[in-house]
Homo-oligomer: 344 residues x 2
């Protein structure tokens, strides 16, 4: 890495070239594609140098060697996160997180092992002051408006204070990145009435009432896709289950349509006619469109992609990192957390 | 009520004639329909006598007056459950639950206020020995096999011991009612590995390992509709959110298809062609097909229906109550709980 760049005001983004099921191919080419679309940042590829160079050469992609940072180890998708980041100090994930920690880079993007990426971001980059738990946000398709779920699975057994942090961080993210002036915040619960919920959400409700955030109260599972609120607050245990269940519903429906199409030519023709429509409708659920989820609350920009990330998804993750840098998201989160630090 | 019947071996089922958004119409006619299909039980209609009689007369339905039990009050869908069951002692829900408590009836079926029905069943009928929390089970559509979620929302902040109870009760329900010899049980969690989960599910995992139930470990949100397991165990907070989110996904997709069809004649024709297929596919999600959810763990049979229950749904609820009686489900649950009472 060219250390002379470290005081450069250009955003420095590191991409984990070894991250994802189709690495290094998709990670490398997606990252280079982002640079083609927007060259107002510096791109670094971290991973096995020879493999990175091979992908670049095979695809005739232009990329200056001095922006390749060698990392001899790879954390696999099946590795145990916290063990792996200790056992593999020269892995692309650990090396990337360290460069952000050392202020040699501003952002780290990876479609690799999600748990390892969360652990490396939290333990190596470190948490911002006032953050008990960093949070991942996942954008949901909605009938109208934009909506993200915080926490989408970064941690479980969140305490009320953590839900408050998610609301503060999620609100800033939706404002700065999705342009929603005063994001509506709702707690995911089992009824809309103020008194509904479990012990943790009821207490979080009380805390959120004390803020001047645009907290609208409790929402139900059926409200998420309506876009009733812009920020859905929940424990990561619930958020993870909701997201995976949603994917499961889509898989179930696709399988059913496929089975229907398999029952003879007429059915096949019918389904064929609406295939375009279905693709259009289901595209809102396509993670590749937005590419990756941000991990908020760590000291730096960290974006984690789906293992199956396409080149387009990686490209979008890099551009999102750039946007988060330009909008000084980390600093704004820190300021807002500090404003609300007296709430209890 | 004809008390001379109280020692009769015929199953005595009470239907809340005032329960549901379309009561007394749907409740009364659905119940009478069940009696037409299977007359090996005694049906009692509880509610405002004059209203019940009017529905019967208007629809020329044959029903002996002596099986109508007057209850002068009605708990509305918006009433606060625990307050309402105290404030309205002569409501159909309270009167119905009391008749089961007094062993004058075996089963109580209502499509009324869910919370009030749960409260009345739990507080008036009472819990079975060894039950900390009664549980509601909701049948899910699956790619293969049958699967119910316990708890689907009867209680929140369930403790590990409660999840064990749900597993025991759910397993018996799926065996006796759905004919699955050795139901596979999974804990809904954030990963399949044994160590994944929150504090409560991890401890429940340990407890379930000690049973000889067919416990297969943790499952993820995306596994529910695959039918990986027959009994999904979770806290009612999670179960309620999952179920409502699932309904939300379907509503979202239907709205999207409708919007697509609205964009011109060609689109409308295309969607029209597959409407039958879609209806067929989505019918698995139709609560009216199975009608109502059982509340297990109370001392009697209690079945709670959706507020929007159709006549068919009410009919199915009544027939389900009859089946639970014939299969001695309450006794079997009590026996099984007693077998596992030493697990901790």
């Amino acid at each position: 890495m060219d250390n002379s760049d470290s005081n450069n005001s250009k955003c420095r983004i590191i991409v984990d070239a070894m991250g994802g099921d189709f690495a290094p191919q998709n990670a490398v080419l997606g990252a280079v594609q982002a640079l083609k679309e927007n060259n107002f940042f510096e791109l670094y590829l971290v991973g096995k140098e020879d493999e990175i160079k091979k992908v670049l050469k095979d695809n005739e992609a232009q990329f200056d060697d001095k922006f390749i940072i060698n990392a001899s180890q790879v954390i696999g998708m099946g590795d145990t996160p916290t063990t792996a980041i200790k056992a593999k100090p020269d892995s692309s994930i650990v090396v990337g997180a360290k460069l952000v920690k050392e202020k040699k880079a501003d952002a780290f993007v990876s479609a690799g092992n999600t748990g390892a990426m969360m652990a490396a971001s939290t333990l190596i980059m470190g948490r911002l002051p006032g953050v008990g738990r960093p949070t991942m946000g996942s954008l949901m398709p909605t009938s109208q408006g934009k909506c993200s779920i915080f926490d989408a699975g970064a941690s479980v057994d969140s305490k009320p204070q953590h839900l408050l942090e998610y609301a503060i961080m999620g609100s800033i993210f939706m404002k700065e990145i999705h342009g929603i002036e005063n994001p509506k915040i709702g707690i995911l619960s089992v009824g809309e009435e103020d008194s509904k919920g479990n012990a943790v959400t009821q207490e979080a409700f009380r805390l959120l009432k004390k803020t001047n955030l645009n907290f609208v109260g409790n929402i139900e599972g059926g409200d998420i896709l309506k876009g009733t609120v812009n920020v859905v607050i929940c424990d990561g245990f619930v958020g993870n289950i909701v997201l995976k269940f949603g994917e499961g519903v889509l898989t179930f429906l696709k399988d059913k349509f496929k089975a229907y199409a398999g029952q003879g030519l007429v059915n096949k023709l019918k389904i064929g006619l609406v295939q375009g429509a279905m693709r259009e409708i289901l595209k809102d659920f396509d993670y590749q469109e937005h590419g990756g989820v941000p991990l908020l609350g760590v000291n730096g920009i960290s974006i984690i992609g789906h293992g199956r990330s396409s080149q387009k998804a990686v490209k979008n993750m890099v551009l999102r990192a750039k946007e988060m840098y330009d909008k000084e998201l980390v600093q704004k989160i820190q300021d807002s957390l500090s404003n609300y630090s007296n709430i209890s």
